[in-house]
């Protein structure tokens, strides 16, 4: 019965029914830096690849290089890893796409593009083409940036040729493509280093793409590259509502007062309350704001630099626009990006200076304060916002005028806003503006978020 347990690689039977649930988020984030990888659970299965659960590690090898069991388990792990690494990039000839790499342009021309993956990769550029009868024409064609081409080769979706000037008329099937085949290794060696692409930037690109994000360049590498619309950089509280909306609120607030006369909403003891407009700025925060005489906040510009010349370009500049996988994305007309990412090399780049950060914040949009987190019971179900006892009163009989004119009234104060007011500490912590910096140290990538906290807007007294 217990024969299997005597084998060195046996596991207790309780562990065996492994239904391979996807890695749950909590477990993954717990110890993210030192993820325990168990390659023995990863063997390529072309049918249904499953990300295995994490294995377990031991504290240290026994003296003298490890016990027999330890060495055996280590060998098994290593061999599983090497087997996984040996898997070849294979794709059916019906699903494969083809591209030609033009080193002089630093672009790959996708001659055959198949699959959904191309809905968010590549852009079309008109290029002059000489047709068979010697006439030069411009044709639009799908071109890939170096990182896009490299990623597609690496994931085994594209077979890439390299442009060659050889006369390939004699070689069957090759006269159409006019190129020599490229390996993934060659693509790594030759595509990185072109068009501002560094290995670090490529690693961040591939990391995000593997997670399903749509990634585009923030600064267009050529004039025809589709560029995202500019952000609305005005402060959130000054952002103007639509003209129609303002007219409507003005109109309806006057009108509702008249209506209230008839519908009984008027307080007969105070028929003429002073207008909101007169007492508007007479609360504590307004008074304190008026008393503040040292300039505060991020609208105050930094002192100009004295000695150091800003000739050298800062490594802190936004390189990628990132869209969440759920965002509807149109390649030709990208919308506002969900995130913007700066990529730096951890080994050569120091921490950003205040000026570098401020420059980045200045071109980032303002974000609304975070909503307070909904409290959750240990089971993970959100608590009801109100206690169960307070049964809502039955709705009063609705008069005709109520029914006909609801759109004229000002929108009722949302009942949830009181309980869902942003928490000041949360808002300060999150900041009004955010910059995401991807720091790459020889292959390991970390993402860091810098937030511009607005202390002056959340006065606490």
């Amino acid at each position: 019965m217990d024969d299997s347990l005597e084998q060195p690689d046996a596991k207790p039977p309780a562990m065996a029914p492994d239904n391979n649930p996807p890695e749950d988020g909590e477990e993954a984030s717990e110890d993210e830096g030192d993820v325990v990888l168990d390659w023995t659970k990863l063997l390529p299965s072309t049918a249904r690849p499953v990300i295995p659960r994490r294995g377990e590690k031991e504290f240290e090898p026994q003296p003298g290089g490890g016990s027999g069991l330890q060495l055996h388990v280590l060998d098994r792990s290593r061999n599983a890893m090497f087997d996984a690494l040996k898997a070849t990039r294979t794709i059916s000839s019906k699903a494969v796409s083809y591209a030609i790499w033009y080193p002089r342009l630093a672009r790959a021309h996708a001659t055959v593009s198949r699959g959904v993956i191309f809905s968010s990769i590549g852009h079309s550029v008109p290029r002059p083409v000489v047709t068979a009868d010697g006439v030069e024409k411009t044709h639009k064609r799908l071109e890939l940036l170096p990182e896009e081409a490299l990623y597609l080769i690496e994931r085994g979706s594209v077979f890439c040729w390299k442009e060659t000037d050889l006369n390939l008329a004699g070689v069957d099937d090759l006269e159409e493509v006019l190129g020599s085949p490229m390996s993934a290794q060659q693509a790594f060696s030759e595509m990185i280093g072109t068009e501002d692409l560094t290995l670090e930037r490529y690693q961040v690109y591939a990391y995000l793409k593997r997670l399903g994000y749509v990634v585009t360049r923030a600064s267009p590498p050529n004039s025809l590259y589709p560029r995202a619309p500019p952000f609305d950089l005005s402060p959130l509280n000054q952002r103007t509502a639509s003209v129609l909306g303002r007219i409507r609120t003005l109109f309806s607030s006057c009108f509702s007062r008249v209506i209230r006369l008839f519908t009984g909403g008027l307080n007969w003891w105070k028929p003429f309350r002073p207008s909101r407009w007169l007492i508007r700025d007479k609360n504590y925060s307004a008074v304190f704001r008026a008393l503040r005489f040292i300039p505060a906040g991020h609208s105050v510009p930094l002192l100009p630099t004295t000695a150091d010349s800003p000739v050298k370009q800062s490594p802190y500049r936004i390189f990628y626009n990132v869209y969440k996988p759920v965002t509807p994305f149109r390649k030709s007309e990208p919308g506002l990006p969900d995130y913007q990412i700066v990529v730096v090399n951890a080994r050569t780049t120091p921490m950003p200076s205040l000026r570098e950060l401020t420059d980045l914040f200045d071109i980032s949009p303002e974000m609304p304060p975070p909503l307070p987190r909904q409290r959750r019971t240990p089971q993970g179900t959100p608590l009801p916002l109100k206690p169960q006892k307070t049964v809502p009163p039955p709705p009063p009989p609705v008069s005709f005028i109520h029914r006909i004119l609801p759109w004229l009234r000002p929108p009722p104060p949302e009942s949830t806003t009181a309980s869902r007011r942003p928490h000041p500490f949360m808002a300060i912590k999150a900041g009004k503006k955010t910059v995401i910096v991807a720091v790459v140290d020889a292959g390991s990538t970390g993402f860091f978020r810098f937030g511009q906290g607005a202390f002056e807007e959340w006065a606490l007294f």
């Binding site: 659970k41 290593r78 898997a87 294979t90 059916s92 390996s183 790594f188």
Partner: protein, 301 residues
């Protein structure tokens, strides 16, 4: 060590890559050099936990390997020579033969796909098949006549098989005849620096990092990047595949360089939280020696 042929580290953009799985295996099992896998694993391309070739080496690892004559540097862009027409023709012929072979294989061995599965999956499948067989045997006895009347043919797979072939996208360039592996090889760091394909170490800090790395490696440790733990390296007592790191190490440019108390507190605290001790590694550039000092949070009161 020196009787083996040196491992070729393929350098491009001043980074060293290893593309051959055998070399990765040798580096790891024999020389305790792990590097960082950075490529997308084919067929598991939508995750970041398990990555594939190429293996990117830390610059310290490269310096150590070249100085110990375990590996040589190779200018990879220069090794990719433009193929001649004849070479391309040969390649094409080979490709066609491969495709023909595939087609003939597919038609003969249809249905038994040589899938690789984890051990548990294989065991489960066997159990399932055994059950199915038992059930089928029982059912077959009853329905033998019906089964015989149905033609045993799978038309869908038969028609698709003759047009569809598997395209292989090569990972390493070694399969190309025109890839010149022996050209532009550099056996020392200095010669590679002179050829401007490599530039590490160029400052005192980088020299200190190389020296400390060597010091730890010679004591039988495995090293990984420590950026996620606030240090320069993570130091493992055995292969990181199986063992936890014991230390996170920071490199100091000199054994007498000043440290603020805050740094000691921060490192000690961080090491304790992550169940490691922090290792302060001082490098003496004149004596070419590294010294190590570990801090632990005593946690009195």
């Amino acid at each position: 060590m020196s009787n083996d042929p040196p491992i070729h580290l393929r350098v491009a953009n001043k980074k060293a890559f290893v593309w051959d799985v055998e070399d990765i295996a040798t580096l790891r099992s024999k020389h305790r050099i792990c590097g960082v896998l950075t490529g997308t694993l084919p067929h598991l391309s939508q995750q970041n936990l398990f990555l594939g070739v190429p293996l990117v080496l830390l610059p310290e690892e490269v310096v150590l390997l070249v100085e110990n004559e375990i590996a040589v540097l190779l200018d990879d862009p220069k090794a990719h020579i433009q193929p001649s027409v004849i070479e391309l023709q040969k390649w094409r012929v080979k490709e066609k033969e491969l495709q023909q072979l595939q087609l003939s294989k597919v038609t003969t061995a249809l249905g038994t796909s040589p899938m690789m599965m984890s051990e548990e999956a294989i065991r489960k499948r066997k159990e399932r098949e055994a059950k199915k067989k038992a059930a089928a045997a029982a059912a077959a006895a009853a329905q033998l006549e019906i089964l015989l009347s149905v033609p045993s043919k799978d038309p869908a797979s038969a028609t698709s098989a003759d047009t569809q072939v598997t395209v292989i996208i090569p990972a390493s360039s070694r399969s190309f005849d025109w890839y010149n592996d022996s050209a532009s090889i550099y056996r020392t760091i200095d010669s590679a620096k002179a050829a401007e394909i490599w530039e590490y170490p160029s400052t005192l800090h980088e020299r200190a990092k190389c020296g400390v790395f060597r010091g730890l490696w010679e004591q039988g440790m495995y090293m990984g990047g420590g950026i996620k733990f606030g240090g320069d390296y993570l130091v493992y007592p055995g292969d990181p595949l199986r063992y936890h790191a014991h230390f996170s190490a920071t490199v100091l440019e000199s054994p007498t360089s000043s440290l603020t108390p805050m740094e000691i507190v921060a490192h000690g605290r961080l090491g304790t939280v992550t169940k490691k001790s922090h290792l302060l590694c001082g490098w003496d550039d004149t004596k070419k020696e590294a010294s190590f000092l570990s801090i632990e949070w005593a946690g009195f009161g």
